[in-house]
């Protein structure tokens, strides 16, 4: 899928191709386990597997993906936080596991900042504001005007209560001073189906979940949440191009781009040497 290819940040992974310092040359002497805290086949899993393959080629040892899904990624991340901090267990951290989960899921027992050391960013997923074509709006300005004329009449979908798609939508409503009814679904796929069936009229969806439907014309993209246009949708304006000025500032804080970041768990005190051996190649 082109999206994943283009958004995979070669820098983080390519780093390992660099000649390593002699003292660190021995580091990967056996296989590395990569905990993916979501089920097989999801977007995090796909990105994780692509990264695992690239890492294995560069490090010369197998990188085994271990899917530990559950509770919005917190179950697998909790397991990762308890792993031995020798650098042979790494995990894919996402906005869900390291920002939203610890804030919203009761019973999370890991510290997203203290228990992990970041290695590098591997992927970013743009969010796309999409509408059902029958709504009869062709621009973001039209949508905002319609939502302001009929407050609370339109329905917007999300991948669940407190999911990133929900939070981005709330940001949009606050930035544009509009009201819509939130209809939560169980997954991005369900929310996309509901948009196609016109059960919801608006969805601020993640790019992988809506791209094929946009390209086929069964839903219509109005704007992308990134500060630059997405390569996959060159004709779709960004939020600020479409006139939502306030959105840009918030985007810079990180809600716009949802990083999937490789982290190495390390219970305090952090064994800096091992983190260093992972990060060192970045120079």
């Amino acid at each position: 899928m082109t999206l994943l290819r283009t958004t995979l940040m070669a820098a983080a992974i390519g780093a390992f191709a660099l000649p390593t310092a002699p003292a660190l040359a021995e580091f990967p002497e056996r296989e590395i386990t990569m905990i993916v805290p979501f089920g097989a086949g999801g977007s995090t899993d796909i990105v994780g597997r692509i990264a695992a393959q690239a890492l294995a080629e560069r490090l010369g040892v197998p990188v085994v993906v271990d899917n530990r899904g559950g509770a919005g990624g917190t179950v697998g991340t909790q397991a990762a936080s308890q792993a031995t901090a020798d650098g042979y267990t790494i995990t894919v951290a996402t906005t869900s596991t390291h920002v939203v989960g610890p804030l919203t899921v009761a019973g999370v027992r890991y510290d997203p900042l203290g228990d992990f050391a970041p290695i590098g960013m591997i992927a970013e997923t743009p969010y796309v504001m999409a509408v059902n074509p029958n709504l009869g709006v062709s621009s973001l300005a039209d949508l905002i005007a319609l939502a302001q004329a009929e407050p609370g009449e339109l329905n917007y979908g999300s991948a669940g209560q407190g999911s990133t798609t929900h939070l981005v939508s709330l940001m949009f409503l606050a930035a544009t001073d509009t009201e819509m009814e939130h209809i939560p679904y169980g997954s991005n796929a369900e929310a996309t189906t509901a948009l196609m069936g016109n059960e919801v009229q608006v969805l601020f969806g993640s790019m992988p979940a809506v791209l094929a439907q946009i390209q086929a014309g069964s839903i219509e993209a109005l704007a992308v949440g990134t500060t630059e246009r997405a390569a996959e949708l060159p004709d779709v304006p960004t939020m600020q191009e479409a006139g939502v000025e306030g959105f840009r500032a918030t985007l810079w804080l990180g809600l716009e781009r949802f990083p999937k970041c490789l982290t190495i768990p390390h219970p305090r005190p952090a064994p800096q040497g091992i983190v260093h051996s992972w990060v060192a190649g970045r120079g």
Binding site: D45, I50, N155, G160
Partner: protein, 439 residues
């Protein structure tokens, strides 16, 4: 879908809701020494259901997908209400017991994060329960483990189960084949239709197919005791549904369940974007997939039929050796789900509960459908109410939804009227039977 049925029939160890339905009559047949015909018939019904559904997928995928899109929250809710009633019907004895088991399943399904409010319910702060009680744990406990405990409690009275089966008895008789042909057809039709609906289709299809057979048959009393129709209809339905489940995945680009999500992921890794355009843009992929379905179904036939005899030999193993093996496989299988000992403890609990159910003559199958559908019923109900801004008329104002609700009422009326009409005239073979079937 087929592999699950073999173990379900032989050892009463179903892995899916669909094979739990097949286990009802399939395992009863195995106990009567008729495991051979049961396995052959499930293979043939599976093959037939699969082949018909493949034709349907290749010929009607785009219009079927449009039909699936018309199913929104209110339609799903009404369909599921009908499916749950169908599950309640399939029990032996009073309808009330069936409804009770369905409701128990619905309640168990409530455990976990509430998807509308995001609040954890009945999790006791345990992260393992946030995603709810695992279906596989419940089905293995209530069926497999409970069966082991039950067999051990009979101590030596399960001789029929372990007697060697002569090879000539492996082949279904002409009566068997005749008895399975129409149910397979009806099951396939139901399965092809319901499989198109993402998420709920295959499970509901098996239960609905079984319930339909139990209503149309002249001998409903044979169901649960080794009725051929009780295995061929759900098996045809679930394999047909497994094939038509590809329709929304391929043509809408939205995965219906976890397996389909895995398929989508695999396609994306290979640079293919499933979606509305895949049939036009990648015809070689689409027809290759259809061809692989055919091959898969054919291989199922070729690989399974010759080894039926071998599977039957499994039953000749003395139970004192077989049961520790079953327990070990249960423990390993359950642990490997999430690599979590918690699931193993949970299966012990559900196994004991299942034993109590057997003693009380409560059938676990309706509970399973309740458990699977519980989150879907609740979410679709709440979403419908959000969309209608709190007006319950949404369920009767929409034609498809209204049709399902009407069908539900008709089924309920027929069942209730039937039991009221039959009751006073019912022949009573033994005095102890009097009053047991009180409606």
């Amino acid at each position: 879908m087929y592999g699950g049925s073999t173990v379900a029939i032989l050892l009463n160890l179903p892995g899916t809701a669909a094979s739990a339905v097949v286990a009802l009559d399939g395992h009863a047949m195995a106990k009567q020494g008729r495991a051979g015909p049961a396995l052959v018939i499930t293979t043939l019904s599976s093959f037939f259901g699969g082949c018909v559904a493949i034709v349907i997928v290749s010929a009607f995928a785009p219009p079927l997908a449009q039909f699936a899109l018309r199913f929104q929250s209110p339609e799903y809710f009404s369909l599921m209400v009908m499916g749950l009633l169908a599950a309640a019907i399939l029990v032996q004895g009073p309808l009330l017991k069936g409804i009770g088991m369905v409701l128990l399943g619905l309640l168990l399904g409530v455990v976990g994060l509430d998807s509308i409010s995001g609040m954890p319910r009945y999790t006791f702060g345990n992260l393992h329960l946030f995603d709810g009680i695992s279906f596989v744990v419940v089905v293995i406990g209530l069926f497999g483990l409970a069966e082991v405990i039950h067999n051990l409690s009979l101590s030596g009275r399960n001789q029929a189960f372990t007697k060697p089966v002569p090879w000539r008895e492996l082949i279904p008789t002409k009566q068997d084949m005749a008895a399975s042909s129409l149910p397979t057809l009806r099951g396939t039709a139901l399965g092809s239709f319901l499989g198109v609906l993402p998420g709920a289709g295959p499970a509901i299809a098996s239960f609905a197919a079984y319930a339909v057979e139990k209503r149309v048959t002249k001998h409903p009393e044979q169901f649960g005791k080794g009725a051929i129709a009780g295995i061929s209809a759900p098996e045809g339905a679930n394999n047909a549904a497994a094939q038509t489940a590809f329709v929304p995945t391929l043509t809408l680009g939205v995965p219906g369940d976890a397996i389909m999500a895995l398929m989508l992921g695999a396609l994306m890794v290979h640079g293919l974007t499933p979606g509305p355009q895949i049939i036009q843009n990648n015809p070689e992929f689409f027809w290759g997939l259809i061809a692989s379905f055919w091959l898969g179904n054919l291989l199922l036939l070729i690989l399974n039929l010759p080894v039926v005899g071998l599977w039957i030999r499994l039953l000749a193993i003395p139970y004192r050796i077989l049961f520790p093996t079953i327990l070990a496989f249960i423990a390993i299988g359950i642990y490997s789900l999430h690599r979590d000992p918690f699931d193993v403890y949970l299966v012990m609990i559900t196994g004991f509960v299942g034993f109590v159910f057997i003693k009380l003559r409560m059938e676990a199958a309706p509970l399973l459908l309740g458990l699977i559908l519980s989150p879907m019923v609740e979410n679709n109900l709440l979403r419908s109410m959000l969309i209608s801004r709190g007006d319950p008329m949404i369920f009767v104002e929409r034609p498809i939804s209204a049709a399902f609700l009407a069908a539900t009422l008709v089924i309920l009326a027929v069942v209730v009227a039937g039991s009221i009409r039959r009751w006073p005239r019912r022949p009573t073979p033994t005095p102890t039977n009097q009053g047991r079937n009180h409606p």
